[in-house]
């Protein structure tokens, strides 16, 4: 992270009891410590998510215990479980209805790629086909520690987001899209099967 204040000067001042910060730092500090997830679970991963939020693993330590039942108040969407093709439009719509800045954690093998149900006719092969994912957690299901780790990774990501300048966060840029097209049910599959602006299937290179 580029620091506008000299690190040595800052620590010197801190020893004297003066805390120097910037708007960006303060803003990111506030945001990363109050990530409110959207309260919804799709499958067994949601049970792990519930366990993470409960007292034993205590997501509240990271400021993320306030699960909101409405997307209007949520910052984070934890896609916890198998995304069926029936459910995918709803998830994309919920994501669209969340206010900026918003983040997505793709939790578990199913949300990443369809997981063990990848061959299923009704399973979406990864939620990143329609919405941008910030953190992927592998596992089937991932343990609560893994979700906590993803949370910490997300906090690191938020901390590194710039408020102004060239590489500022995309949600601050009015030219970037704020919503993503909601897929519709086609004759055989969801239409479109993926968002071409967002999703590029990995290409196998043979050498």
């Amino acid at each position: 992270m580029s620091d506008p204040v000299d690190q040595g000067l800052r620590s010197e001042l801190q020893k004297q009891g003066i805390w120097v910060t910037s708007t960006q730092e303060l803003y990111n500090w506030g945001r990363r410590n109050s990530i409110w997830p959207l309260q919804f679970g799709l499958a067994c991963c949601a049970i792990e998510m519930i366990a993470t939020a409960a007292s034993r693993y205590d997501l509240a330590r990271f400021g993320g215990e306030v699960f909101r039942p409405s997307p209007r108040q949520a910052d984070l969407m934890i896609v916890a479980g198998t995304v069926t093709k029936k459910m995918a439009p709803q998830i994309v719509r919920l994501y669209n209805q969340m206010p900026d800045p918003k983040y997505v954690i793709s939790m578990g093998a199913c949300a990443i790629s369809g997981g063990p149900f990848k061959q299923g006719y009704n399973v979406l092969k990864g939620i990143d086909r329609y919405i941008p994912v910030d953190v992927y957690i592998p596992g089937c299901p991932p343990r609560p520690e893994a979700l906590l780790h993803a949370f910490m990774e997300l906090q690191r990501k938020i901390d590194a987001q710039k408020l102004t300048g060239q590489g500022k966060a995309s949600f601050l840029d009015s030219t970037q899209p704020s919503e993503f097209p909601v897929p519709a049910f086609g004759a055989h599959d969801l239409e479109p099967p993926s968002n071409p602006d967002l999703f590029r299937p990995p290409v196998m290179e043979r050498t």
């Binding site: 409405s70 997307p71 209007r72 439009p89 998830i91 719509r93 209805q97 206010p99 949600f171 909601v182």
Partner: protein
């Protein structure tokens, strides 16, 4: 010189106005300077658990429902009176029996009246 005792109320009112206005002003400034609003049709749509909402949110209930509730309430209260009467029936004088009969008669009369008015027809032909 002591300030006017009402002066503190003026200060209090000032703080009460500034306190809520400050975050609003800050949010407005934030929007102007850093985060331009990016609304869209999906974002502004009614939240309906992710499903597209159908029809109007305004629903009218029939007044019939209210009438039903009232009639039910009357007979509910009747049961409350009748049970202790039935329990103590053998030890009661003749007057008590007549009194409860009058009470029942009044309620039955009411029921007949409501029935004849058509209050018990759930789906009334208009």
């Amino acid at each position: 010189m002591t300030p006017d005792p009402y002066f503190f109320i003026v200060i209090f009112c000032g703080v009460a106005v500034i306190f809520p206005l400050m975050p609003l002003a800050l949010a407005w400034l934030w929007r102007r300077v850093f985060q331009p609003p990016r609304p869209g049709p999906a974002k502004n749509a009614t939240y309906e658990c992710g499903v597209e909402s159908i029809g109007e949110a305004r629903v009218q209930f029939q007044s019939q429902y209210y009438l039903y509730c009232i009639i039910f309430l009357i007979f509910d209260v009747e049961a409350i009176f009748l049970v202790p009467f039935a329990v103590a029936f053998t030890g009661l004088p003749m007057g008590a029996f007549i009194a409860i009969l009058v009470f029942l008669l009044l309620l039955i009369e009411g029921l007949v009246w409501a029935w004849s008015k058509g209050c018990l027809d759930w789906a009334k032909a208009r």
